[in-house]
Every structure is written in structure tokens, then in C-alpha cells.
């Protein structure tokens, strides 16, 4: 199209062109067909394609996947309902509603005053930026490496607290139950609680039988 007054390629001084300096008569001769060499040698190569649904490649450790709500070693929830995750979220994907723990009526879900009564993450809005887990002051919210979150309807992609809560590890007691006796909230964060005590186990046994008899 446009006429080029400078058709001959000329390289300015700063330009380092390694191919140019190394070129010999033979390499110049074969340069136009060098691509065939690439194509040919590719035949003897391992294919880089990932066979995804059949073979799953593990993600990197820091990968931002599905969220998880964690528990203390005795089974109480770490979430204190502070809503920092919801504040930090740039996509408004998190909804939290806190409530007071109440030892007298047996409604204690977390150490301290408050717990997250309602906790929802809307995966239709979530952009996996991880600001929520960076905001969480109790490591209640973490991100796992699970990435298969597709679904065929919108309602199921709003994950509720029971879906997000970490499974009970062996030895843990499901909330609600009282805190470890003689410990206060800060002891939990200082790592002084390592598992449920016999008193907590007794409390849970008593109260679960109450419910069964009530039914």
C-alpha cells in the first residue's frame, strides 16, 4: 500500500539483533523454511495440552479458590461476625449478619461476644481477589484450592454458612457449646486451646440427648 521511502531494514545503534550478527550464508538460505523445522520437531515432543476433566492439574498453593469458614481446635467457629470481609469485598459478594453468643440458653458458637449468624458468599459476584481473607482478623475465612464452582442455576451459587463451614475434624465438637472453662477469648487466639475438654464433651452429650428426647 503506502510507498515506503525506507524499505531497506536498517537498525539503529541501540538495537541488539542477535539473529543478524550470527547469520551465515547457510542460515540465511534456510531461514524462509526454518518454520518447517519447528513443525517437524514438534512431532517428537510431549504435548502441552492439559486433559482437564480427565486429569486435573493441581493448582499452586496460593491459588484463590472456594472460601472456607474455619473452626477453633475445640470446634467453636472462628468467625466473630465482624463483617470486615464484607467491608473489604470490592464486589459486594459477602453478606454477614452477626448475633450475640448466649451461654445461658446454650447458644455459643464462637469464643467471645459475637458470632456470624448468617454468612453468605455470592459466587456470581465474587471476583476471587482475596481481599476478604486478607481482611479477616481471626483467620476464620480462608481460601482453598477448590476451583470447580460452576452450576446450572443462580440460586445454588449463593453459598450459605453450612456450605462454607469447614468439616468437623476428628476430636472437634460441633458448635454450639461453651468455651473451654477458665479460658477467655484472647486465649483462643494465642493458641492456648488445642482441643475440646471433658467438660465440653459432657455438655455436648447432655444437650444433644436433650434434643433427641425433645423430638
Amino acid at each position: 500500500m503506502a510507498d515506503n521511502p525506507n524499505a531497506k531494514p536498517r537498525h539503529s545503534g541501540a538495537d541488539g539483533d542477535p539473529q543478524k550478527s550470527e547469520s551465515s550464508f547457510l542460515s540465511d538460505l534456510f531461514a524462509p523454511v526454518a518454520g518447517f523445522g519447528v513443525t517437524f520437531s514438534t512431532m517428537f515432543r510431549k504435548v502441552a495440552t492439559e486433559e482437564y476433566p480427565e486429569q486435573k492439574r493441581p493448582t499452586q498453593l496460593r491459588y484463590h479458590g472456594r472460601h472456607q469458614l474455619n473452626r477453633h481446635p475445640d470446634g467453636l467457629e472462628k468467625c466473630v461476625g465482624c463483617e470486615l470481609c464484607a467491608w473489604a469485598c470490592p464486589a459486594d459478594a459477602i453478606y454477614v449478619e452477626g448475633a450475640d453468643n448466649d451461654d445461658e440458653s446454650g447458644q455459643r458458637y464462637s469464643p467471645g461476644e459475637r458470632y456470624g449468624r448468617v454468612y453468605q458468599i455470592n459466587y456470581l459476584r465474587c471476583i476471587f481477589c482475596a481481599l476478604c481473607i486478607e481482611a479477616c482478623p481471626t483467620r476464620a475465612l480462608t481460601m482453598t484450592n477448590e476451583y470447580e464452582l460452576a452450576d446450572n442455576n443462580r440460586a445454588d451459587l449463593i453459598f450459605t454458612k453450612d456450605q462454607l463451614l469447614a468439616p468437623i475434624q476428628s476430636g472437634m465438637l460441633p458448635a454450639p457449646h461453651p468455651m473451654v472453662e477458665g479460658m477467655e477469648e484472647r486465649d483462643y487466639y494465642q493458641g492456648k486451646v488445642t482441643g475440646p475438654t471433658p467438660d465440653q464433651e459432657k455438655w455436648v452429650r447432655e444437650h444433644s440427648s436433650d434434643e433427641e428426647s425433645a423430638e
Binding site: 515506503n4 525506507n6 541501540a14 518454520g35 519447528v38 502441552a48 499452586q60 496460593r62 470486615l84
Partner: protein
């Protein structure tokens, strides 16, 4: 398929919006291809004896590099007028940023030009830091990590530019090799930031977290492979007669044209001006790295392609230097000022990634002041003194600028980006008018516009 002559009551527009009122004269025939046999359409067009044909190429055309609409006026096979129609990917990012804290802004701007997310983040953070007046306080290690990530991103962006350009020419092998090599770089991004794209990694004051253990080894392992893969693309393209026939002297834009249209990056450097902000106005410590500015002066698409290939090698050269520095100098990656520094200290454990237990112990068990800082920074964010700042960096596509204005609050009063794709896209008309339709594809591919960045 319909043919009709516009009369007053149709006002020149049709149900498909192919032409708009005032676009054409009242008696200009409008021909719409909406399914049916192509030959019939050609016959209809031929029957009208109309010389001038206006064709909408895009926004859904596979060869237009995203949702770019090109309005081409054709005389036979020759393009007599080319206009770019943009706005099909407008996402309101700049406006949205006005309603989020300064830190949250990173998650928005990283999504503008999604092929170079780390440059978007870097320029925004540099602008915020300039407005805060803390540019000198950014830790050395944070700067090196930024440079490392940006240069890897530059290589990845150029690989995508070449890969998609090759695909638009019908060279799918170039595409597969380009994306294969880019994958190696994205793996490093995933390792460092947890995400392959839209990383949200560079933050005002530093970076989100230090590079993980084993990252340096992985980069060392990866760099020679990307060099090798790039060499394969060079073997495929550099002297390929078909490629040269399609790109040499096509998409020509000389230095005067580049300057007049504000074109920067590989386009400007293909016209012979060694203008690179990394050298011209260094930031993040670029003056301490050893690299060359690649220029050619044939002003055509071939020169732009070769410039990009050479720049990949130069970028990887800088990556090597970064790795050496990171290996030697440990240190903080976030600014010291606790009133600005994002408070998170991340760690990966059996329960996934979250704030480290040490950090939890400090804020929840020991220091009430740390807890207050944590809450204030997350809920409200830091305040930026009233004023404005403009920072420009050299992105793979050219000069990427960010202008932030603060009214003293915790959110930007205005955040504006000078995206190089947008300015470079102006050159489409100058580069493709007078050429054939096939040359338009080459010209657009050599500009490498990313519509996410153009429309923001």
C-alpha cells in the same frame, strides 16, 4: 437479506442498526446481510451499480481483535476510509473506582487491559503513592518484585499479541506456540499472586505478599524455555515469505504520523524513535537494570512484529537480573507506615490461605492498636491528601498513564487512565486506508489493541 432505498420515514436506519440516521443520504441503498446466501447478496449489490460500499467489520468478527467495530468504506478491494467504532466493552471501571477505597481500586483497574493486568495495577499504585508522597519509602524488594512481575507480564502480553496476530492471519501454529509459552509465565503469576490474570497483587505501598519459596527456582527454570519458545516463533515467522508478503510495508505509519496520533510503544519504536519510559523517565528502579530499547525504522507491521519478539528477549533479560537481586536481598515488601500499609500477613496452611496465625495472635491477642489499624484500614482505608498525581509507565502497548485526583478522602475523586490501546487505535485509519481489506487485519493486529483497555 433486504434491500431498500431510504425514504424520509425510515430515516436511514434499520432494525439491526446497520446505519444510523444522518449516516447516509436519503436515497442511498442499504444492503443488510442477515443470513441467506452470500451469492444472492453479491448479485443484489452488483445490480445496484454502486461503487462505494460501506462494510461493518465487527464487533463480532473473529479477525478484529476483540469487540472492535471497523467501519470500512470500500472501493472494490481497496479501503478508502476506515473508522474504528469502540465502546462495546465499556465496563465503567473508572467510575466504579470512585466508590471504592484506594486499595480496592486495584481490583478494578487490573481488569482494564486484561492482557497486562500487572501494568494497570502498577501504574495505579505508583500514582496513588505519588499522591501520598511516599514514592521514596517503597521498599527495595517490593520494587524488584514489581519489575519482575511487569517484565514477565510484558513477555506474556507480547506473546498474546503475536499469537492472536498469527491466528488472524491464519497461522494457528503461531497461536498455539504463543499461548503455550504464555502458559509458563501465567504459572509463575499463579504461584506468586494466586491468580493467573487480574492478579490484584501490586498494592499502594508495595505488593500484597512476598514471593513464595521455590518461586525463584521456578522462574530460573522457566526463562530459558520461554526464550526457546520465542525462538521457535522467530523461526516460523521472521523470514517466512508468506508472512513477509503480508506484513512488509503494510500498516505503514512513519514517525510524523506516530507523533501526530500519539502512538507509543512498539508502534513508535518501529518508526525509529527509541522512546521507552523505562529509559526516558525511569520508575521502580528501572535505571539500574541493563537492557536495550528495541527500534526499527521500516515503520511497517513487520517491524512491529520483530520489535515485539526482540522485546520478549529483553524482558527476560531484566527478569534474570530481578531474580538475582531477589535471591540476595530479603526484606519487607510493604511500606513501613502502619497508617497506609495494608495490614494482611498471608500464609498457606492446611485450611487454605488466610492471615497467618502470628498476625492473628498479634491483633486479636496482644496489640489493641494493631487491631484498630487493621479495622480502620479495611473498613475506611487510608486518606490521600487533596491534590492530584499523574504517572506514566511503559506498558507492552505503549505509554500507560494514570491520573488520580483526591479530595482528601478515602476514595479517589477521579481516577483516569491513559490506555495506550485507545490512543494507538486512532492510527487504524492512517495505517489501513489505501490498502486492501486483508491489510486492515494486519494493521489492527500490529497495533495490538485490547478492547478492555480501550473502553475501560
Amino acid at each position: 437479506m433486504t434491500t431498500h432505498t431510504n425514504s424520509a420515514h425510515t430515516a436511514g436506519s434499520d432494525a439491526f442498526g446497520a446505519s444510523t440516521p444522518g449516516d447516509v443520504d436519503a436515497d442511498t441503498p442499504v444492503l443488510n446481510a442477515v443470513g441467506g446466501d452470500w451469492d444472492d447478496l453479491v448479485d443484489e449489490a452488483a445490480a445496484m451499480h454502486e461503487e462505494r460500499i460501506v462494510v461493518n467489520m465487527g464487533p463480532q468478527h473473529p479477525s478484529t481483535h476483540g469487540v472492535l467495530r471497523l467501519i470500512l468504506e470500500l472501493d472494490g478491494e481497496t479501503v478508502t476510509e476506515a473508522r474504528a467504532g469502540i465502546g462495546y466493552l465499556h465496563t465503567g471501571i473508572e467510575k466504579n473506582m470512585e466508590f471504592r477505597t484506594w486499595t480496592q481500586g486495584v481490583t478494578f483497574c487490573t481488569r482494564m487491559d486484561y492482557v497486562m493486568p500487572l501494568f494497570n495495577e502498577a501504574v495505579y499504585c505508583l500514582a496513588v503513592e505519588k499522591a501520598l508522597g511516599i514514592t521514596d519509602q517503597i521498599p527495595e524488594r517490593a520494587n524488584v518484585i514489581r519489575v519482575l512481575m511487569m517484565e514477565l507480564n510484558r513477555a506474556a502480553s507480547h506473546l498474546v499479541a503475536i499469537a492472536t496476530g498469527g491466528m488472524e492471519m491464519g497461522a494457528t501454529t503461531v497461536m498455539t506456540i504463543g499461548f503455550r509459552e504464555r502458559e509458563r509465565i501465567l504459572e509463575v503469576f499463579e504461584m506468586v499472586s494466586g491468580l493467573r490474570m487480574n492478579n490484584n497483587y501490586i498494592r499502594p505501598g508495595g505488593v500484597a505478599q512476598d514471593i513464595p519459596a521455590g518461586c525463584i527456582d521456578k522462574v530460573r527454570e522457566m526463562v530459558p524455555l520461554v526464550h526457546k519458545g520465542t525462538k521457535e516463533i522467530e523461526d516460523l515467522l521472521n523470514e517466512n515469505p508468506i508472512l513477509k508478503a503480508r506484513t512488509v510495508d503494510v500498516g505503514y505509519l512513519d514517525l510524523t504520523g506516530c507523533i501526530a496520533l500519539g502512538a507509543t510503544g512498539p508502534i513508535l519504536r518501529s518508526a525509529g524513535l527509541p522512546y521507552d519510559l523505562r529509559k526516558a523517565d525511569p520508575y521502580c528502579g528501572y535505571e539500574t537494570y541493563d537492557f536495550e530499547v528495541i527500534t526499527r525504522d521500516t515503520c511497517d507491521s513487520y517491524a512491529k512484529l520483530r520489535n515485539r519478539l526482540d522485546e520478549i528477549h529483553e524482558s527476560l533479560k531484566i527478569v534474570d537480573q530481578c531474580i538475582e537481586r531477589l535471591d540476595k536481598n530479603p526484606g519487607p515488601v510493604m511500606v513501613e507506615d502502619k497508617k497506609i500499609a495494608w495490614p494482611a500477613q498471608m500464609s498457606v496452611g492446611g485450611d487454605g490461605q488466610g492471615n497467618s496465625l502470628d498476625h492473628i495472635r498479634e491483633i486479636m491477642g496482644e496489640s489493641m492498636e494493631s487491631l484498630i489499624h487493621h479495622f480502620k484500614l479495611v473498613t475506611e482505608g487510608f486518606r490521600v491528601p487533596p491534590g492530584q498525581a499523574y504517572v506514566a509507565i511503559e506498558s507492552p502497548k505503549g505509554e500507560l498513564g494514570c491520573h488520580v485526583v483526591s479530595d482528601g478522602g478515602t476514595r479517589p475523586y477521579r481516577a483516569h487512565f491513559r490506555d495506550p490501546s485507545f490512543n494507538n487505535l486512532q492510527a487504524v485509519a492512517a495505517m489501513s486506508e489505501g490498502g486492501s481489506v486483508a491489510d486492515v487485519i494486519i494493521a489492527v493486529a500490529s497495533i495490538d489493541p485490547v478492547m478492555g483497555g480501550v473502553d475501560r
